[in-house]
């Protein structure tokens, strides 16, 4: 299916033009889980007919496709505002309406092809064919990812006292470490506030003992039917403890492209049941890695926020994912391989390879975002020095307080120059956005998420592409 839209409009434009998907004035969206702006005007004109390549993974079209797909997948979940529906009933009716769902069903296959086809080219599936080869492959992969098995050979080893490293360490080393840690929690929130909802799509049907094994994991995720123990509930506790909002998608504008693609991948595989084997392997790989991963996340959060952070969510995962790592490995990954043999083993391996790539790309995206957002002063100085090295492709915008707000990325390095007034640059969720005054110019590297709000009664900005690429 080819989806293109032109000036006369098409299904994507019609979908994005829905009230709930258009930007409003809010930087943070609270009390209404149906409001999730896709982008500024013109998103309906984007061409998604040619799949994105790996090189285009962080491009603007991937961001827009990621937002639309997230909306599409979540419109088959039940979402209600915690303070009651009274102020959002009209948006509830629209979000779940026949028209929006009809458009969703029309545009989704083409957008999935656009967003995920690059995996076909970018992922090389090693020749694993037998159960024994699959065991050796999996344990080799998790060991290589820094999450080896413990002495039993069946559980992921966890060292809760391990020093933080990698991205967790990079967060602690930021000058604005609390904002960087908050940005990390926000990326987790994209999935954690609806935790295991994608998994829930695989609970129905009739597929043998593996179905019951998946349900045991789901049972843990949902806190055994006790709301205070539900993982999404304890995640909210963690957000609240560091002063972050707990409403679903309050930070919609701050989800990175890679985060959207990563979460959409799991929704895609559970919406399209041909993806069941890839999903089961992908979830096995993640559950195994989460055990040490959340021990590290908890350590990072305690380093950044001290005693005030509630890390119960991380502690819970550092414990229960030892079990889930074993349970998914033994009973899902190997279970499906035993039950269906060589017919499905390549698909299982593909799920792990896809996930490895998405994790790597996501890590790179996040690291680049916090590196840039943490050094906006330097990038403002750089912007000033590079202002004369830009192309003659100036886009001029006049901003006013209360204008529709949205965040975006550019496909090339750009310089944003304030020609009149003052603007705030939102590069991550903070009460202290970076302020630019008249004459200031900010270098925005390609793929870096940002949004602008006017501080003065009016503010004029000119956006120009940098000659050549710095990044």
């Amino acid at each position: 299916m080819t989806i293109t839209t032109g000036v006369d409009g098409g299904p994507i434009e019609a979908y994005c033009a829905q009230r709930v998907f258009r930007p409003g004035p809010e930087v943070y969206i609270t009390g209404n889980p149906y409001r999730r702006p896709v982008g500024s005007t013109g998103v309906g004109d984007l061409d998604f007919s040619t799949p994105a390549t790996e090189a285009e993974f962080l491009g603007y079209r991937q961001l827009v496709a990621g937002r639309i797909l997230c909306n599409a997948y979540e419109s088959d979940m039940i979402l209600l505002p915690p303070a009651g529906l009274a102020t959002a009933k009209e948006d509830f009716d629209l979000f779940y309406s026949d028209e929006v769902r009809g458009l969703r069903d029309t545009i989704r296959p083409g957008l999935e092809r656009y967003a995920f086809s690059f995996l076909d080219d970018a992922v090389t599936v090693p020749p694993v064919r037998t159960l024994e080869e699959l065991q050796a492959y999996f344990l080799g992969e998790v060991g290589g990812a820094g999450a080896p098995a413990d002495h039993t050979g069946n559980n992921p080893a966890v060292d809760t006292g391990a020093p933080v490293s990698g991205t967790m360490r990079a967060i602690t080393e930021c000058r604005h470490a609390e904002e960087a840690a908050g940005m990390h929690l926000i990326q987790l929130a994209l999935d954690a506030l609806t935790e295991a909802s994608a998994m829930a799509r695989n609970l129905g049907g009739s597929y043998g003992v593996e179905q019951s094994e998946l349900f045991k994991i789901f049972n843990d995720e949902f806190g055994y039917g006790l709301y205070p123990a539900k993982h999404s509930t304890i995640f909210k506790g963690m957000l609240a403890s560091v002063g972050l909002r707990t409403d679903l998608h309050a930070y919609w504008n701050f989800y990175l492209t890679s985060s959207l693609v990563g979460v959409n991948y799991f929704n895609w595989l559970t919406e399209d049941h041909r993806g069941v084997f890839r999903y089961m392997a992908a979830v096995t790989y993640l559950e195994w890695l989460f055990a040490q991963g959340f021990a590290d996340t908890g350590a990072m959060l305690r380093t950044v926020f001290g005693d005030r952070v509630d890390t119960k969510y991380c502690d819970e995962h550092a414990h229960i994912d030892i079990h889930h790592g074993r349970m998914t490995y033994e009973n899902l990954l190997l279970g499906f391989a035993r039950a269906h043999g060589e017919l499905v083993i390549p698909e299982l391996v593909r799920g792990i390879e896809d996930t490895k790539l998405l994790l790597r790309l996501g890590d790179e995206d996040f690291r680049a975002q916090i590196r840039w957002a943490d050094t906006l002063e330097e990038h403002t100085r750089l912007g000033a020095s590079l202002a004369t090295s830009t192309r003659d492709d100036e886009e001029v915008r006049r901003l006013r307080p209360g204008d529709p707000f949205t965040t975006r990325v550019h496909d090339a390095d750009r310089v944003i120059e304030v020609t009149d007034g003052e603007v705030d640059v939102h590069a991550w969720a903070t009460d202290r956005p970076h302020r630019l005054g008249r004459g200031d110019a900010l270098l925005v590297p390609r793929a870096r998420l940002h949004g602008l709000t006017a501080v003065s009664a009016t503010a004029d900005v000119a956006v120009r592409t940098l000659e050549g690429n710095l990044t």
Binding site: K216, N219, I322, H323, M327
Partner: protein, 130 residues
């Protein structure tokens, strides 16, 4: 307050007390009414299987091994007369619903040979985590 329930052990092996469950556990052939609750995450010990040596139950949720001695310590007072048992349930409000039913109990079955292959649990699983 305590509540007293009379059970016919030929017909009943499970007592539902509000949100709590008890089941008739017979580790030595002598019936005891014990909590149907794994100390790890609350899994149904009535559906657990015995380890090959019969000294522990393997919870079906996470494979946690719980000593039968620990399970026996959760038993409530019971007076038997033939197949009739009078049990005293401690700390139960007067308005808490109590139901006596029959369920399949796997914990009283002899160990299966395949239980010897039970996947080892991590040390953390041995602790109580709520």
């Amino acid at each position: 307050m305590s509540r007293v329930v009379v059970m016919d052990l030929r017909r009943h092996n499970t007592v539902l007390v509000g949100h709590h469950r008890y089941f008739v556990f017979e580790p030595d052939g002598r019936p005891l009414l014990v909590r149907d609750w794994c100390p790890h995450r609350g899994g149904p010990l009535s559906l657990s299987r015995q380890t090959p040596d019969g000294r522990r139950l393997v919870c079906p949720w996470h494979g946690t091994k719980v000593g039968t001695a620990a399970v026996k310590r959760t038993s409530v007072p019971m007076v038997r007369s033939g197949d009739e048992a009078v049990v005293m349930l401690p700390d139960v409000d007067a308005d808490t619903p109590i139901t006596v039913i029959h369920k399949r109990i796997l914990a009283n079955l002899p160990p299966e040979a395949e239980q010897a292959k039970t996947v080892p649990c991590p040390p953390a699983a041995a602790g109580v985590h709520e």
